[in-house]
């Protein structure tokens, strides 16, 4: 399949674009693979790609129940950053950010990763101290972080209400310049194409309905398109983790599936350059290349697999948007949607071997798994290939809850809706 470049674009342009080939094949599933990955989201696809690229394991299938990217990879607000608080998280997400920085080249697919910066606004001295703690934690891990005072933020973000009379006046913000946004769908398509080019079979419209077992050991998957044997089965189904693990006989997990809504306004000329998050409530907003403001806030806060939410959160998010940018009241909401989040009990992911022999598990991404996509795939592939975790994902086990080794960024304990 042809490399993508300016030249191929020109050549095809002169040729009425007739010669473009499918970005990935649509193969029939084989009877057996070395590795079957359940879930054609960002993490499943990235895992397949890194298995092939980093570990030379190419006899791999990714099975996806719907169309590729129909899960959260296709419905997130695209924020990428690594400015977490706890060292284990920082190392994970920074590993990811480094991979992001060269991802388009690696995949030969423009995922439009744009390092336009992420500013987390602080609204009180106590919150500033919290952000300083975080910024310092980052700096000690070698990750970029800087403090922007209110005036600097005001200059960089016109339209933002920086007045002292705001209900939650802005006192400053934690800026991570290397953070930014990427084109969500392109990440799925780019990984799919790159994995496919290395021989991975991507099988859409193929739902895993059960697991093949030899005693305790998982030996393959039962799907809507037949049984597929596998030496190793890796599960990366994000919001569907509960359902899929139930099919493996594991009826309880430290996961609740919640719906998170997201929103876009109609397209606008450039009006917001960086990603902004509001610390007086919960809101994050950026402007897409197409010109829409893409934004979201809290999860609805109840178990759901419905991919749609309800009005209270819509109202909350719009209120916060208008509080932050009083001029945006006249902008118009174009579309809203929902995605199902795998909220874990401490707000951190699980990337691990097990829980059954022959099985590997990747889940618990909560609000933040898009940014993790490259590292999640990279580390999961490592764990699958070597049968042991990489030091970076070693803390992100499933038994950390029982043992009390939780990674609780928000300090909220086992209440998923609060993470």
């Amino acid at each position: 399949m042809a490399e993508y470049s300016v030249f191929s674009l020109l050549r095809n342009g002169f040729n009425a674009n007739r010669d473009w080939a499918p970005a990935w094949r649509k193969p029939e599933p084989k009877a057996a693979y070395d590795v079957v990955i359940v879930g054609g989201g960002g993490h499943g696809l990235a895992t397949a790609y890194y298995l092939a690229r980093e570990h030379g394991i190419t006899n791999v299938a990714v099975v996806e129940k719907g169309w590729l990217g129909s899960g959260n990879i296709g419905r997130n607000t695209t924020i990428v950053r690594s400015n977490y608080l706890l060292p284990a998280s920082i190392r994970f997400y920074e590993h990811s950010l480094k991979l992001w920085e060269n991802l388009s080249h690696e995949l030969n697919y423009n995922v439009m990763f744009s390092q336009r910066g992420v500013i987390n606004l602080a609204h009180s001295p106590a919150q500033s101290d919290d952000f300083m703690r975080r910024g310092n934690a980052l700096r000690h891990e070698g990750v970029d972080a800087e403090w922007w005072d209110r005036d600097r933020i005001a200059r960089a973000v016109p339209g933002l209400d920086v007045s002292a009379s705001a209900r939650f006046p802005i006192v400053g913000g934690l800026m991570q310049r290397r953070g930014g946004t990427a084109r969500h769908d392109a990440v799925a398509w780019g990984y799919a194409r790159a994995a496919d080019r290395r021989g991975v079979d991507i099988i859409e419209n193929c739902e895993v309905t059960g697991f093949l077992r030899d005693g305790d050991r998982v030996t393959g998957v039962r799907t809507s398109r037949g049984d597929i044997a596998a030496k190793k089965v890796a599960v990366a189904v994000a919001g569907s983790t509960g359902r899929v693990m139930q099919a493996a006989g594991i009826d309880r997990m430290p996961i609740e599936s919640h719906v998170l809504q997201a929103f876009v306004t109609e397209s606008l000329k450039p009006t917001l350059d960086t990603v902004i998050t509001f610390g007086g409530g919960h809101l994050y907003v950026s402007q897409s290349d197409k010109g829409s403001l893409v934004f979201g806030g809290d999860i609805d806060g109840y178990n759901s697999y419905a991919q749609r939410g309800n009005l209270p959160v819509v109202e909350d998010v719009m209120s916060e948007m208008v509080a932050l940018f009083p001029g945006f009241a006249r902008l118009r909401l174009l579309r809203s949607w929902g995605g199902i989040m795998d909220m874990s009990m401490d707000g951190s992911p699980i990337v691990t071997k097990g829980p059954l022999p022959g099985m590997y598990l990747n889940c618990g991404w909560c609000y933040g798994g898009f940014k993790a996509t490259p590292a999640s795939g990279w580390l999961f592939a490592w764990t699958i290939a070597r049968d042991e975790p990489h030091p970076i994902n070693a803390p992100f086990t499933l038994d950390r809850f029982a043992r009390g080794l939780v990674i609780d960024e928000k300090g909220q304990g086992a209440t998923p809706r609060l993470h």
Partner: protein, 108 residues
């Protein structure tokens, strides 16, 4: 979404606080069985379909309600006061035997 509080009548979901899975029996307070506590504190059935869950009518009468709601459609099949329909205090009744995670004993 409306939840029909048995005291207040149907009210908007904004008046309620979600309190999660109602199928988690709390171990005997004096129990030191960490597995049982881990089950209670951290493990969730998280089903796709009917779900028995607690909601508090925090913006109304403040009662805790036992709500049966379909997580695929958000349809609510039933609402009752928790007080008049308490869950068994100690007996776990999982549908299938719980599989212990294989990595349980392994330390990193």
């Amino acid at each position: 979404m409306l939840i029909a509080c048995p005291y207040c009548g149907p009210r908007d979901v904004a008046e309620f606080t979600y309190q999660g899975d109602a199928n988690r029996p709390r171990p005997d307070p004096a129990s030191t069985d960490l597995d049982a506590w881990n089950d209670y504190v951290y493990q969730r059935a998280n089903p796709a379909g009917p779900h028995r869950e607690y909601w508090q009518h925090s913006g109304g009468c403040r009662s805790h309600l036992l709500v049966t709601r379909n997580t695929l459609t958000h349809e609510i099949a039933g609402v009752a006061f928790v007080r008049s329909a308490p869950v068994p205090a100690t007996k776990p009744a999982p549908a299938a035997p719980r599989k212990r995670p294989a990595s349980r004993k392994a330390k990193p």
